[in-house]
């Protein structure tokens, strides 16, 4: 219980923006995971590439910001993996079309 109370009152706890911002960013990760089941022509290569770069940069941001935001960091690691998977799917599909 003490750990829970410490977390709730911490500078990156649920009473602060440092918590809810990353929680929203997990939505992008979930959307990416749900979209992996869809056909590849529905994936936007522009958006996927940009989201990949965005996550790479925000991984560094989450590490360097004060206070260090591990929730945001983990969110962007997962987003990098999810968007890379989507991008590989699109590239494979497009290569199949041009062959």
């Amino acid at each position: 219980m003490d750990i829970v109370k410490t977390f709730i009152n911490s500078p990156i706890g649920p009473k602060t923006t440092h918590f809810w911002g990353p929680v929203c960013n997990w939505g992008i990760v979930l959307a990416g995971i749900l979209d992996s089941n869809k056909p590849p022509e529905k994936i936007s290569p522009n958006m996927t590439t940009v989201l990949l770069c965005y996550s790479l940069m925000f991984m560094r941001f989450a590490w360097k910001v004060q206070p260090r935001n591990y929730l945001l960091f983990s969110c962007h690691i997962c987003n990098t993996i999810a968007q890379s998977a989507l991008l590989m799917k699109v590239i494979k599909y497009r290569r199949g079309l041009t062959v």
Partner: protein, 131 residues
């Protein structure tokens, strides 16, 4: 990466620049730090979404646009309550949320008009050749 940025910083500081430029280079949120480039990347998401306005509605991902809209909306509000208030990050999140909202409206209108997401396309030519 950090060593590379360090080298760039040292090279720039050796140049005959005005004191104002040198302050900018050494600023804790200056162009050699990640804090400067993060809003820039968020603008790229906004522009990519605007470019995707031309994509057919069937190919718009509702999940992704809802996530973009919610992220943009919440970060806009919170940029106003953090210390110091970050107007540039607020602006980029507001615009990003607005583009997400527009895409959601497009998709909802498409569904209301009886539109259905198209089935998967025919197998790619490479697969046909393999067969």
């Amino acid at each position: 990466m950090t060593i590379f940025v360090h080298h760039v910083r040292n090279v720039l500081l050796r140049l005959p620049l005005s004191p104002r430029m040198k302050t900018l280079i050494d600023h804790p949120a200056g162009p050699l730090t990640i804090f400067f480039w993060c809003p820039f990347v968020k603008w790229m998401i906004t522009f990519a979404n605007i470019k995707d306005f031309k994509r057919p509605v069937e190919n718009v991902s509702l999940n992704q646009q809802i996530a973009i809209f919610v992220t943009g909306a919440i970060w806009t509000r919170y940029c106003m309550v953090i210390t110091p208030v970050n107007y540039s990050l607020m602006a980029v999140n507001a615009t990003m949320g607005a583009t997400g909202f527009y895409q959601i409206c497009r998709k909802v209108k498409f569904y209301q008009q009886g539109g259905v997401d198209t089935a998967p396309a025919a197998p790619a030519p490479a697969e046909e050749k393999a067969q």
